[in-house]
Amino acid sequence: MLVEVGMKSVTNAAADLDNSSFVDIRNLRVYFKRSYDVYTPRQHGKHVIKAVDDVTIQIARGEILSIVGESGSGKTTLGRTVVGLTRPTSGKVLLEGNEINYEDRGKLRELWKKSQMIFQDPYSTFNPLSPIHDALLTPLKKFGLVRSEAEADERIESMLLRVGLSAKDVENKYPNQLSGGQRQRISIARAMLVQPKLLVADEPVSMLDVSLRAGILELIKELNRRDKLTVLFITHDLAVAQYISDRIAVMYRGKILELGSSHDIIDSPLHPYTELLLSSVPRISGRKSWPDRSEISLPKVVPNDFAGCRYYANCPLAVDRCKVQEPSLKEVYSGHFVACFLRDKSSEIDSAQRPAG
């Protein structure tokens, strides 16, 4: 299911998209054995969790791509694999044309000079026993980016300033003495100290108070604008995804169901799941209509050998074909892709066909 993503300039006027794919994810599969040790991927087996199941997507240099999905969609696993923390079961990830070598720790180290990640929980992202200064010094030392203590101090101080913090206030403190918002900013500082070209942000604001989120989002946007930082933004919050990203990919149970510019996804969604997500988002002004399917609280689990569309069991529009064949991502409009027989304008499906029982 190789898909060529047409590179088009998106509505975000500030983004200057390069015409080469910066991150190239090809047929990526990450499967986990269903045992108490979830960190070691395995292939084929009875109890396999297919966290990422044959995903192919490219990220352009300088763009902000959001992966939107609920829990179990595989978005975090995808992010971790792109940054080298989780090993794929099959498929490959290329950064700037170079395939990531997951076996070689030395090569991974080289990767981490270019590609970094920030995590969801600002409270557990730091070693509680180390003061902040040490946490920030580590990447500089380990990657050999500074030649002296003084140079390190200077870079740390200016980076903290960059993320909106005063070095004097936070440097010598321990993580539990700082607020969630401050910790998340320091998290970003730590990632940015190595001057990466790619940042994977895994739900960076979901655990922060509402009033603190804008600051972090603005910071990421500014890093993207000023430093041409490419961002893979993982979130379950469509409003945040729309706000920050150029393009959005909607993930469900390991597959990408829809991909397009954030404008397209939000204003003219194609996939029934995307429509469901959009109608579920709470609106302060009151929603237009409630999703009419309360049975959604019982998502039916799809067995691993199911041949059809992942969304079949919960889809209100499913037809027979959806049960036996899996739709692939097809470009319906320029830059807007969807994996659904009923919405990808394939001529074989008549929209008047009766939905399956």
Binding site: I266, L277, G286
Partner: protein, 327 residues
């Protein structure tokens, strides 16, 4: 202009809270989680209680059930349907809790007893209140499960066999099992996926209409209350800073904090609308700022704000505690 601090019988509200102060003991002194709060809740309405972490909204909710321990109520009155809740003792307090007012606690779905079936947990609650026997209780359980849209066959399931959304519905069923008139829901949908969240909220809304419940919905997410509640109360640093009809508060917020809160969240469909965070950090409740608690972070603060604390005043549109809006 009337102040909200009138005597108990004048407003006729279902819940009347007057000058409530709740403190928690900490190694560094008494922390005032709720400080001099006045609030009315009318029968049959959904009141949204919104604020960020540490503002005192959960404490306020717990106070209505007298469940603040280890904190304590040091001042004020809480009246529910004419009953002085703070003076209830023993049997009357037991009757009050869960039969008059029930609560959905934060992360309650994680507190379900893992070794008991759903049915037995609800039955236990019903029977312990001495209302009916086991048989009738079981019938009630089936009725409740249907009300919260759970297949009654699931009554014999254990909590770990249920998804997050289903567990939360069980929690709602547990809260409603003795037919309370007031339901306090503290963050009922945090930690749930957005689709499940929508279905739970929809169920709560339907329940409210059908059972004529009065609901206090506590949350940090103002977009939820925006669509669920009739009136909205905004809390900051232990105080209520604005109260009014949801439409008014959302479309024409009076208090600078409310305005900032609304501007801080991205809204679907308004991609290019700028969002802004609020500079600074919430105050330390052990030594809150003098005057208006929000003044260090308020873009409109002037002298009076720093020295005198503004009272909650009805300014014609809604109730606001802000010197900009009074006189």
């Amino acid at each position: 202009m009337t102040q909200l601090g009138e005597t108990v019988t004048t407003t006729g509200a279902f819940v009347q809270i007057r000058d409530l102060t709740v403190t928690y003991p900490t190694p560094m002194g008494e922390l005032r989680a709720v400080d001099g709060v006045n609030l009315d809740v009318y029968r049959g309405e959904v009141l949204g209680l919104v604020g960020e972490s540490g503002c005192g909204k959960t404490t306020l909710g717990l106070a209505m059930l007298r469940m603040n321990s280890p904190g304590r109520v040091v001042k004020g009155k809480v009246n529910v349907d004419g009953v002085d809740v703070l003076s209830l003792e023993g049997e009357r307090l037991r009757r009050y809790r869960w039969e008059k007012v029930a609560m959905i606690f934060q992360s309650a779905m994680n507190a379900l007893d893992p070794v008991k079936t759903v049915e037995s947990q609800i039955v236990e609650t019903i029977v312990q209140h001495g209302r009916t026997n086991k048989e009738k209780a079981k019938a009630r359980v089936r009725e409740l499960l249907e009300t919260v849209k759970i297949d009654p066959l699931r009554a014999k399931s254990f909590p770990h066999e249920l998804s997050g959304g289903m567990k939360q519905r069980i929690i709602i069923a547990l809260a409603l099992c003795l037919s309370p008139e007031l339901l306090i829901a503290d963050e009922p949908t945090t930690a749930l996926d957005v689709v499940v969240q929508a279905s739970i909220l929809k169920t709560i809304k339907e329940l409210q209409e059908r059972l004529k419940l009065t609901i206090i919905l506590i949350t940090h997410d103002i977009s939820i209350v925006g669509e669920m509640s009739d009136r909205l109360a905004i809390m900051y640093a232990g105080k209520v800073v604005e109260v009014g009809r949801t439409i008014d508060v959302v479309y024409d917020p009076q208090h600078p904090y409310t305005q900032a809160l609304i501007k801080a969240i991205p809204t679907i469909g308004y991609k290019n609308a700028e969002i802004k965070g609020i500079p600074g950090v919430p105050p330390n409740l052990l030594s809150p700022p003098s005057g208006c608690r929000f003044h260090p972070r308020c873009p409109f603060a002037f002298d009076r704000c720093k020295t005198e604390e503004p009272p909650l005043i009805n300014n014609g549109k809604d109730h606001v505690a802000c010197w900009l809006r009074s006189a």
